[in-house]
Symmetry: C2
Subunit: 352 residues, 2 copies
Amino acid sequence: MIGTLKGDRVALGKESIDELYNTLYYGRLKENELELALVEAAYLLDRDKISVEHEGKKLSFRDFFIIASQAQEYFELKYIVYRDLRERGYYVQPSVTDFRIYPRGGKPNVSPSKYFMHVVTERKPMPMQQLVSNLQAAVNVRKEMILAIVDEESDITYYGVKFNNLKGGMGELKVPSVPGAATFLEDRVVIWDTELSKFLHNNGFHGNMLDDKRLQLSLVESAYLLSTGRLEVLDSATGKPLEIGDFIEKASRIEELFEGKLKVYTDLRNRGLVVKTGFKFGSNFRVYEKVESAEKIPHSKFLVDSVGAGHVFQLQDMSRSIRLANSVRKEMVFAFEKNGEIQYFSLGRIKL
Amino acid sequence: MIGTLKGDRVALGKESIDELYNTLYYGRLKENELELALVEAAYLLDRDKISVEHEGKKLSFRDFFIIASQAQEYFELKYIVYRDLRERGYYVQPSVTDFRIYPRGGKPNVSPSKYFMHVVTERKPMPMQQLVSNLQAAVNVRKEMILAIVDEESDITYYGVKFNNLKGGMGELKVPSVPGAATFLEDRVVIWDTELSKFLHNNGFHGNMLDDKRLQLSLVESAYLLSTGRLEVLDSATGKPLEIGDFIEKASRIEELFEGKLKVYTDLRNRGLVVKTGFKFGSNFRVYEKVESAEKIPHSKFLVDSVGAGHVFQLQDMSRSIRLANSVRKEMVFAFEKNGEIQYFSLGRIKL
């Protein structure tokens, strides 16, 4: 079968429709022709299923590949991914989201597609807003979103992306009132009262014991307890209780993105989760669904990073976060604020 | 025993010398007195070994702690680490590098110290130059360097830092000459010649097979082969061979820090190592000591990140790199250029 290269399409005559379209599910019908996307044509050309003519000459695979990569942005990437999917036995249709993929056993024109796949190079930074709006678009039509990231050596990693409605099992925290219990030191807070220290550590796994008598709280933990009226924190210089506004101002001088972090921390605690620093995992928080007592710490299920509305992901960093989370059997979750609410989405490696 | 707070020191009378200094190795002798650093005094005060007076009044632990944290920058951090080390049975002397630590069985004034330890908060970014000059200072007097990073919840992670003289087992690569073998496409290079493709993939594990006939090379791989005269790469638009200067210019437009990466890649290859992308691990390169053939890929031992001379580490990111490297049994190595040479240092978690 002979196709003709027309811009970013290859057109074949109607004699190709039965085999390529009806049986093998390549291309789309356009009047009396079969139209192939460049990746489909390259794939069939490599397999000697078709040949392609351009300006009256038959193109070698090499020539076709070079022309195609000039005609379509990221053609090589798309080809690498298309080829991989076809070889794994998936039916794939090129679409605005790069590819629509049919579930195993499913076929174009017969059953609905299951995934919307976006193909990206590791080199191109990805705005968080774009990722979220792509995800929303997939969710709106009940598809799952997959991100196929092609690295500089053309290895592909597939990531499933989904919204995440986190929920925990902790009840309300009734903290005994101890006036002047804590002091804001250089970049952390110390609770001097032993009973309160032990209570907060054992209920909700707050802070870290400085020794057997005193508790150290992080800035977000302190701000959360202070803002909900559960703790009084004294200024170390004046010895006077700090208002929440002053506390946030002091904390923001120490930690640039403090307010964003505090919003996410607060939302997670309000959802009944237990939130601790994720520093050892290189993320903002590690999150437990429930902690019965500080003596019996379960596995933390999530790593959560708070990202600003204008955040742009460097894919190498994103890859590292997800890989690390998965290597310690946790789910990597990103949190962002939208219309005053905190929303969450997860990214995880998937095997197709 | 009663000490007196004097600025950032606590002074005790000579009656304390026998027990605290000669037996337990606290403090330093100053004329007829014993002088304690604030962390030493806080530690002894918490254990009721001493009491401390200030302006004629005995100080509670709480009052002493608050005053000390105002008198010395990062006093709380230093205290948390000092306490941890003492409780692990180490003798510790405060010093310009924060702490000198004696090996197990070793004692101040008797045997030399083994480690120079720097204590830092996770929140404070660390210039690479500072890290390297601290490491050099330790190496100059034959000490090992340890970085103690205290996270926002006062958990400590200890990292050993050392220079690394990487060496691999690969011999010289004699590549068959194939004029016009490769084309620079959008952001990668494709080798069309099947024999050359297979040769490069099997010898030195270059690139990734696009299919069973053609090889894709990354930009650094191509630039290295091009610069050493082992490969000819054609421009996809003009069809003419690219000079190495033009290649680097094109590649630098695609990848911001390309030249730095290429220098490190070249140095590693020249050291007989096999260098591949580290994208899946969130780093620039994964490095093998030797690869016999592409069919038998061994474990890669190192992850290497190229960092600029002015690089400033965010400790959360650094922690993530190291944690991920260690979780896949690799060593995290950072490479930088100094006086035209590439130098390497490793960071790894250590258990004290």
